[in-house]
């Protein structure tokens, strides 16, 4: 036993350090600031670099620049800052530069409710930057997961050469829970691939069979070009339709062809369930409690908790939809993931939202009331 009580935000920062993150660029914003504060304190101890940039746009830019030197990188923000980061987030998608962007969601729109929780950036995390692009989005529900899933987020970024959004919410960010560090000390850590050819043979964006390019760290003798313009395999801009189509398709395929590796979820009591609750982040905690109470009253209620929100676990939802009277979706927004669940359910079952945007978490009672309306 090696237990420590810490906040979700702190656990996220410590997870990043454990994953090998050695560069953090950020800008202060509630309710994510503790991530930056821990990184500022801890990074120099391990020879890493912390910089508080002049704004959110610059901090996103700085982490991409740092990542191109081969460092694992992290930035952390919340709603308004996440909006500001979007252009450069898209740049990282297209240029295939690994980075993890933490967004501790708060009430919106605009300045909104800086100290209150929300889950209203689910769609922005997927579609916030312009153009079709792949993205991986992960949502933790416990403080321990803030640690373990940050490690996973960094691993996925490095493996798939892509930005990963770590989508927390204010409840999880500021919640204090114990982590037993003996349980998390041997987590797998993934490093991005290095070129296995000489600089003369190296072609930066000529991805192998897995569709994932190998970007050599700047300064290691592999000179190449990185641009946010649509580019060819050599990394130079192109407008040739077949090349453009090929590159855009590969970008999507490198994620879509690996859904089984990328998508993770937790499920309980799905067998024989009449109603399944689909919830993520802090709302999943209330959903789990609601399920316990309902199960105790002999109601067949199950829980499906997507940990990977994007790419969306469509196959799993479709399967559930074919077996239940209804899917109930508690979210601290006006019904964002519900739309995706309805799409995946394709009319096979009713999808009922439990939505709350008053700055308060969703209670188990509110979920129970929704379930009782169906049963």
């Amino acid at each position: 036993m090696n237990k420590k009580v810490m906040q979700g935000n702190e656990a996220c920062a410590h997870g990043a350090l454990a994953a090998g993150v050695r560069f953090f660029g950020g800008y202060p914003i509630t309710p994510s600031t503790e991530v930056a504060e821990v990184m500022a304190k801890e990074l120099p101890k391990v020879g890493g670099k912390f910089i508080q940039m002049e704004d959110e746009i610059a901090s996103m830019a700085a982490v991409i620049g740092a990542s191109l030197t081969g460092k694992k990188v992290l930035t952390a923000t919340s709603g308004p800052g996440f909006s500001l980061k979007q252009e450069n987030l898209g740049y990282a998608c297209l240029t295939e530069v690994p980075c993890v962007v933490v967004n501790v969601q708060r009430g919106g729109p605009s300045t909104g409710l800086p100290t209150s929780p929300a889950q209203s950036d689910v769609m922005q995390a997927k579609w916030g930057t312009h153009g079709d692009h792949p993205i991986i989005v992960i949502s933790p529900s416990t403080v321990k997961e803030c640690y373990t899933l940050t490690v996973r987020a960094v691993n996925l970024a490095e493996k798939y050469m892509t930005p990963v959004v770590f989508l927390m919410d204010e409840v999880i960010g500021h919640l204090r829970e114990p982590i037993d560090f003996d349980e998390v000390k041997d987590l797998e850590v993934v490093d991005r691939k290095k070129p296995d050819v000489s600089p003369e043979e190296y072609v930066s964006y000529a991805a192998g069979e897995d569709g994932i390019p190998v970007l050599a760290p700047f300064g290691t003798g592999y000179r190449y070009h990185v641009t946010g313009l649509t580019h060819d395999e050599q990394g130079f801009s192109t407008m040739a339709p077949p090349v453009v189509a090929r590159m855009n398709q590969r970008l999507m395929d490198k994620i879509d062809n690996n859904l089984d590796d990328i998508i993770t979820f937790e499920s309980e009591n799905l067998e024989d369930a009449d109603v399944v609750l689909v919830a993520y982040g802090s709302s999943a905690r209330s959903a789990k409690e609601a399920m316990r109470w309902l199960n105790a009253a002999d109601q067949n209620v199950g829980l499906f908790r997507p940990i990977t929100i994007w790419p969306f676990p469509e196959k799993e939802i479709r399967k559930i939809a074919g077996n239940v009277k209804a899917i109930v979706v508690p979210e601290m927004n006006m019904g964002q993931l519900k739309l995706e669940i309805e799409r995946a359910a394709a009319g096979l079952t009713k999808v009922i939202g439990v939505n709350k945007v008053d700055g308060e978490p969703i209670t188990p009672e509110e979920i129970i009331n929704a379930v009782k309306g169906v049963l």
Binding site: D55, A62, T69, F218, R223
Partner: protein, 273 residues
């Protein structure tokens, strides 16, 4: 092309896309000469740019090159340099790129005195989008978005970065190409944030609208209006009216950011606070 400089260019990416009469190529040749004079290690050098005509430079030069988003070149470059201070970092920007959308990053790179050399090609206009006014379009001059003349005041970018903390500030012109090389060399040697404003010409999107018919006329304008900073000391205000200064305008000593951060790491690792 002089064979000594060929190695600094990606021959398979040439010819460039710049218009006939554009000054960018002359600035780029001054850059290549500077690299040769510095005997720079291309593998250990990163050239970063933003968006715009000048920023296309990174396509053509054979280094680790990073063509970023509009205005953000210095923010990307800051990440590169801080993450690996052993890399030489040069940044190409245009006047709109560096002083409008990227103005904040220019100020803060100056303030940090991070060891980056920024070359700002100033052609007084947004060329890539067809001639809109920038913060460096002189008051009264015409642009597609200033059809009746520029109403706003224009920046003196060298004064701006000097005020913000840059430790090497210089201005050159396309006409004074040899001096431009020397200024880039001096900027690169400065251990800190160096800014070289390269006054250039855009005959297509700026000259034609402002009674300067061609590149030659615009380069002659540079010749007639640029005054070396040393010569200027012997001139009176009347003589300096309508002139602009070129040469090494300012130099200062200040702690360099990445070196200071490395000291911080050393201090923390020894258990200091």
């Amino acid at each position: 092309m002089n064979s000594a400089y060929e190695k600094y260019f990606r021959q398979d990416r040439l010819p460039h896309i710049w218009c006939p009469g554009c000054g960018n190529g002359i600035v780029l040749s001054a850059f290549a000469r500077a690299m040769e004079e510095l005997n720079i290690d291309q593998d250990k050098t990163v050239v970063v740019s933003g968006i715009g005509c000048s920023s296309r430079a990174t396509t053509y030069v054979d280094f680790n090159t990073l063509h970023t988003t509009h205005g953000r070149a210095l923010a990307f470059a800051t990440g590169v340099k801080l993450a690996n201070p052993e890399l030489n970092v040069f940044v190409f920007m245009g006047d709109g790129d560096s002083s409008a959308i990227g103005g904040n990053h220019l100020i803060h790179a100056s303030r940090r005195n991070i060891d980056i050399t920024a070359i700002i090609i100033d052609n007084n206009i947004y060329g890539m989008t067809g001639g809109q006014y920038s913060p460096l379009t002189p008051t009264g001059k015409k642009a597609t978005t200033a059809p009746y003349g520029m109403v706003e005041r224009n920046f003196d970018l060298c004064e701006l970065v000097k005020g913000a903390g840059a430790t090497f500030v210089a201005r050159g012109t396309v006409y004074h190409a040899k001096q431009l090389t020397d200024l880039i060399v001096a900027g690169a040697k400065n251990k800190g944030f160096s800014v070289i404003e390269a006054v250039s010409q855009c005959p297509i999107s700026y000259g034609r609208r402002n009674k300067m018919k061609n590149a030659l006329e615009m380069i002659n304008w540079q010749k007639e209006h640029a005054v070396n900073v040393k010569a200027a000391q012997k001139m009176n205000p009347e003589q300096l009216k309508d002139k602009f200064l070129i040469g090494e305008l300012y130099r200062a000593e200040a702690p360099e950011y990445t070196a200071e951060y490395d000291k911080l790491i050393e201090r923390v690792q020894k258990g200091g606070k």
